[in-house]
Symmetry: C2
Subunit: 144 residues, 2 copies
């Protein structure tokens, strides 16, 4: 039987373990990404670029649930590293297109084993991972 006291206990919140686990998992990626001179946000942005090759900032933001305030500096940094090109769409000058470069494409091979390595570092059964995946996307679906 829950009351106000229980509801404000840290361990009864969903937000807390969610937030802490997310940061912890990102921390596990860091050593692998450091070696490739990538931040985590740059990495997930590149994941979209590997799938799309050409993509507007807006589309990228929708996929990643991030706005231009976050993406603009991330994409500028990726451009400086030569992973993407950025240019205004000729059809609509408001739209900034981001395009994968050959350099960026090659980075994908270097990243190929990261998910496996990080995945192995977690003691989570395939069944549990799948359940977690499903529940997270169920939550994410409510942010559209």
């Amino acid at each position: 039987m829950k009351n106000e006291t229980d509801s404000l206990r840290l361990e009864n919140q969903l937000c807390f373990p969610l937030y802490a686990a997310a940061r912890g998992v990102v921390r596990r990626y860091r050593p692998h990404l450091d070696a490739l001179n990538l931040t985590y946000t740059q990495y997930i942005a590149m994941m979209v670029m590997w799938e799309e090759r050409l993509c507007s900032v807006r589309e990228l933001g929708k996929r990643l649930y991030l706005d231009s305030g976050t993406l603009t500096p991330v994409l500028k940094s990726l451009e400086q590293k030569g992973c993407v090109r950025r240019y205004r769409s000729p059809e609509d000058e408001r739209v900034l297109l981001v395009e994968l470069t050959e350099n960026g494409r090659q980075l994908r091979e270097a990243c190929a084993d990261i998910p496996y390595k990080v995945g192995c570092s977690f003691d989570l059964s395939a069944q549990d991972a799948q359940t977690l995946h499903r529940l997270l996307y169920q939550i994410l679906g409510q942010f559209d």
Copy 2:
């Protein structure tokens, strides 16, 4: 049958929905916390204080999976608002003790309905919430 191509797809990662869902959930708290002039990090710090009343920065950090670089400014801000007091332990001057004030205690009542309100805004069955909770703590347990 998975290959490198699949493993680097955004939607096959666990890290991505975890991170995005965590931020989305925190965003749902924001309007409620804004009304009380609290940030999310201040809020979870207060949750520990409501449970402990007196707690070192180190213990707080262990509970929240945060270090002093994050906590120091958060706790200073909470002190300025009059929610906690901070003072060095007489037994060990290295240790900074954080103590709940009467003001801080009263804040708890004002926060009492936040978990319920936020919880209601998610379409997640009690069963699913419990499963998610279990899986997240299973992951968190690997960060100790």
